[in-house]
């Protein structure tokens, strides 16, 4: 419900304590350390202090983490299911103790990387051998060693020739039998031939045979093709065995995947601490840290620093300082902070809109998705995911938010009689031969869309009136009573009067409306100089009714989205129950329902999320919100693979 009060912390510690202090602060997870480069520091600091250069160290850590990540990806295919779902848990002592076994894990990682390199080189070698085999295999039945290139008078020529030309060559021994051609083998399109050619006739030979599309081949080798082939085969066998042994080796190494993950997170923690040290200013014997800390955390901060020789100052933020924003809400409302964060954080002097926005987000999301079955799946799915997969803070918040909105979906689903659409009714009609029925308590959107539209617009009107109400609250909080009454009060009275006049029969309703109207005309021009201008601009302010009307029309999207989901559900149910009450029909029912409703729920959740957020941002926030805040990012651990309890 509020923006956490922050204190500016400026700390001086001994140089030798810098690392330990960084460790303390990272585990404290409450201090955002400012980067001294961007700060406006007093002039004397330049003479006394200089920034700490941690670039080399950070590079070292990052290289190490890259190796660990690579090792993890290498052993990933070999890790069994259990290893992947159970998340390792640590507390501060056990996590810090991991550093002791860093050397061992380093060795294991090295072994994994070497095994992978071996695998790669073996595979390359195997490819080479296979291409050797491919080169040699047409010549297997030749009894001439490849080392033989010819005699002093002759040359051995290996060539291929298209099969269609082979007939022509068969009788051709050259003038005076100066060459002899032997066909070694044939495949689908070529004959592989060996020719022994007298050196004097070599060019003739080549000339004559090139008219027959021959292609001379150079083959390297030092033995009969048959022997080379066998040699290659045996080399392949050896390599294959070597690979299998290697695979086993990697599989065994994969057992320690969990400890590699934990160590990777440990390295991540070291990087965080190094980054923090990198933001310190260094003097000869001291280090200076500046940053922000929430007021409620100052006691833990002081306790954590009790054992160190430090001097620090905690002061309130001054005007114009860039204070980071940490929103504080109760656990039910807190997940909706992610919607606020998506838009923009409030400025430090503004207000935290999360609570009031969450109520409307909850309601409007439920109205758009409006299905009991979908809501149940959403809630169970999201909270189940949180419980078993233990996601990181950002994802966790979003999941909680969807889970909570699932409850609203269930409520509105019950009100609109939608349990996976009209599934029960469709089954009744198709399988049981009964009549179709509606389970709606409040309104059935498909049957009575006008009523739904009126409800949607009514929710929209309430939403917008609340928005300017918040604006009024902000004005009153700043002491601007008169402005609150004139700007906010007059519109509120105007609309309430309008609503009462149109919807009820109270005789005094129109007096409320006229009061509001009068207030608007009299007060909206009050900034102007003379009475004519004041009244003129007062009347002109009624032009704003157009923008109010346009905003109200936006809420008709609640009708559209609710209806679209409901109608698609009906069609899916109709298709699913098409086959009738038989065994085949039942199987068909299950398959179509699973696929169809699965698709429908995915699209509708996305649509509901985006459009509800859009309504909040444009129609709601637009009326009172002061944005421009920057989110509070404390120095803390960001474990990727493990779950750390640090508080």
């Amino acid at each position: 419900m509020s923006i956490t009060k922050m204190k500016r912390v400026e700390l001086v510690c001994l140089a030798e304590d810098a690392r330990k202090l960084a460790d303390e602060l990272v585990w404290l997870s409450s201090v955002e350390v400012s980067d001294p480069v961007g700060e406006a520091l007093p002039a004397f600091t330049e003479k006394l202090f200089s920034p700490v250069d941690m670039q080399d160290e950070m590079l070292g850590w990052e290289e190490k983490i890259a190796k660990y990540e690579k090792a993890l990806s290498i052993i990933a295919p070999y890790r069994t299911g259990n290893a992947l779902t159970n998340v390792a848990q640590f507390d501060r002592d056990s996590f810090t103790a991991l550093a002791d076994s860093m050397e061992n894990t380093d060795k294991t990682v090295q072994k994994i990387l070497e095994a992978d390199a071996l695998r790669v080189s073996h595979n390359e070698e195997m490819l080479r051998i296979q291409s050797e085999i491919a080169a040699v295999s047409p010549w297997l039945s030749s009894d001439v060693s490849l080392a033989e290139k010819g005699t002093s008078q002759t040359k051995i020529v290996y060539f291929t020739i298209p099969l269609v030309m082979e007939k022509q060559c068969a009788w051709d021994d050259g003038e005076d039998d100066l060459w002899q051609v032997e066909v070694i083998s044939r495949d689908k399109s070529f004959a592989y031939c060996l020719a022994i050619v007298h050196l004097s006739a070599l060019s003739d030979f080549r000339a004559r045979f090139s008219t027959r599309a021959f292609h001379e081949i150079e083959i390297a080798g030092d033995d009969l093709p048959q022997n080379i082939f066998l040699n290659c085969q045996s080399r392949l066998e050896i390599l294959k065995k070597g690979l299998m042994v290697n695979e086993e080796h990697i599989r065994n190494l994969a057992e320690v995947g969990k400890s590699i993950e934990a160590m990777a997170d440990q390295l991540g923690a070291e990087i965080e601490k190094a980054a923090l040290v990198g933001r310190m200013l260094a003097g000869d014997n001291v280090r200076v840290v500046t940053g922000w800390i929430p007021e409620k955390e100052t006691e833990r901060f002081e306790n954590a620093l009790a054992g160190y020789t430090v001097a620090y100052d905690l002061r309130d933020p001054e005007e114009g300082e860039d204070v980071p924003i940490l929103l504080k809400n109760n656990p039910v409302v807190a997940p909706f902070e992610s919607v606020v964060g998506l838009y923009s954080y409030p400025s430090y002097k503004g207000i935290d809109p999360t609570f009031i926005m969450s109520i409307f987000y909850f309601i409007i999301f439920g109205m758009m998705l409006a299905d009991f079955g979908y809501g149940l799946l959403l809630t169970v799915g999201c909270f189940g995911f949180i419980k078993w997969k233990k996601p990181k803070a950002g994802t966790r918040k979003m999941m909680s938010m969807f889970g909570i909105c699932g409850i609203s979906t269930m409520v509105f689903g019950a009100l609109f009689g939608s349990y996976f659409g009209d599934l029960l009714s469709a089954i009744n009609v198709s399988f049981l031969g009964g009549e179709s029925f509606s389970l709606a308590i409040l309104v059935d959107p498909v049957a009575d869309p006008m009523k739904f539209l009126v409800i949607a617009l009514a929710v929209g009107a309430l939403h917008m009136l609340t928005a300017i109400g918040v604006k009024g609250y902000m004005l009153i909080r700043d002491g601007r009573w008169f402005d609150a009454v004139c700007d906010v009060g007059s519109w509120e009275i105007f609309f309430i009067g309008l609503g009462l006049t149109m919807l009820t029969d109270f005789s005094w309703a129109k007096y409320v409306f006229f009061t509001g109207l009068a207030m608007l005309i009299l007060t909206q021009g009050r900034a102007k100089k003379n009475i004519i201008a004041k009244l003129f601009f007062g009347v002109a302010s009624l032009y704003d009714l157009i923008s109010w009307g346009s905003d109200l029309m936006s809420y008709s999207r609640i009708l559209a989205l609710g209806l679209a989901g409901g109608v698609v559900s009906s069609v899916i149910n109709l298709m699913a129950t098409m086959m009738g009450p038989s065994v085949v029909g039942f199987i068909f029912l299950i398959i179509v329902l699973a696929a169809g409703h699965g698709l429908n729920i995915a699209m509708n959740i996305l649509g509901s999320f985006v459009h509800t957020a859009r309504l909040q941002y444009i129609e709601f926030f637009g009326k009172f919100y002061e944005d421009g805040g920057r989110v509070f990012e404390p120095a803390t651990l960001h474990p990727k693979y493990t779950y750390i309890q640090n508080r």
């Binding site: 998506l342 838009y343 923009s344 498909v446 049957a447 869309p449 006008m450 539209l453 923008s547 009307g549 346009s550 029309m553 936006s554 008709s556 999207r557 009708l559 559209a560 989205l561 209806l563 679209a564 985006v610 459009h611 957020a613 859009r614 941002y617 444009i618 926030f621 637009g622 944005d627 421009g628 920057r630």
Partner: protein, 166 residues
């Protein structure tokens, strides 16, 4: 007179009204699809640079979708007015059919133009997201201004359809 009967059969009052309703959804839906596609395509460029901006770009992408929704509800109201969902289709005269056809036209034309233009403004708003993400809402508001005229059009369309006596 067979041909005339044939024509009248095709262009009966009810059919003309359905034609208008269908055109409303067709045109506004296509325009919104095109608009959303334009913004989505440009948004991938922003995400390549910084994946954390996904939520903001998603909001900008959702903005041109409005016109398709408005066309949808106009069509839906015409369907309801014709009594199709109750299975009791009203038999309209040609004049009445043309009335409903004309009632669907404001949102059809204005929805088409404004969806495309709104998408162009939203694409420009993506520049704000990439360079100055804290001010992205200004881009959203620029884009939402274009929607005002689609709102006027759907208001007229809905009013004409709502107050129609079958």
């Amino acid at each position: 007179m067979k041909f005339m009967e044939f024509l009248l059969e095709i262009f009966s009052g009810t059919n003309i009204a359905i034609l208008g309703a269908a055109i409303a959804t067709i045109v506004t839906g296509s325009a919104s699809a095109k608009g959303v596609y334009m913004v989505g395509e440009a948004a991938t460029g922003v995400i390549i640079e910084d994946p954390n901006k996904f939520g903001k770009t998603l909001i900008l992408q959702a903005l041109p979708a409005t016109q398709g929704i408005y066309g949808l509800i106009t069509t839906f109201l015409i369907i309801v007015k014709l009594g199709i969902l109750e299975g009791n289709v009203a038999d309209l005269s040609i004049g009445q059919g043309i009335y409903l056809f004309a009632a669907a036209m404001p949102i059809t034309f204005v929805g088409y133009c404004s969806a495309i233009k709104q998408a162009k403004v939203a694409c420009a708003g993506l520049n704000i997201v990439s360079k100055r993400p804290d001010h992205f809402i200004k881009g959203v508001l620029f884009s939402a201004m274009v929607e005002t005229y689609a709102v006027f059009a759907v208001l007229i369309s809905l009013m004409l359809v709502l107050f129609f006596q079958a």
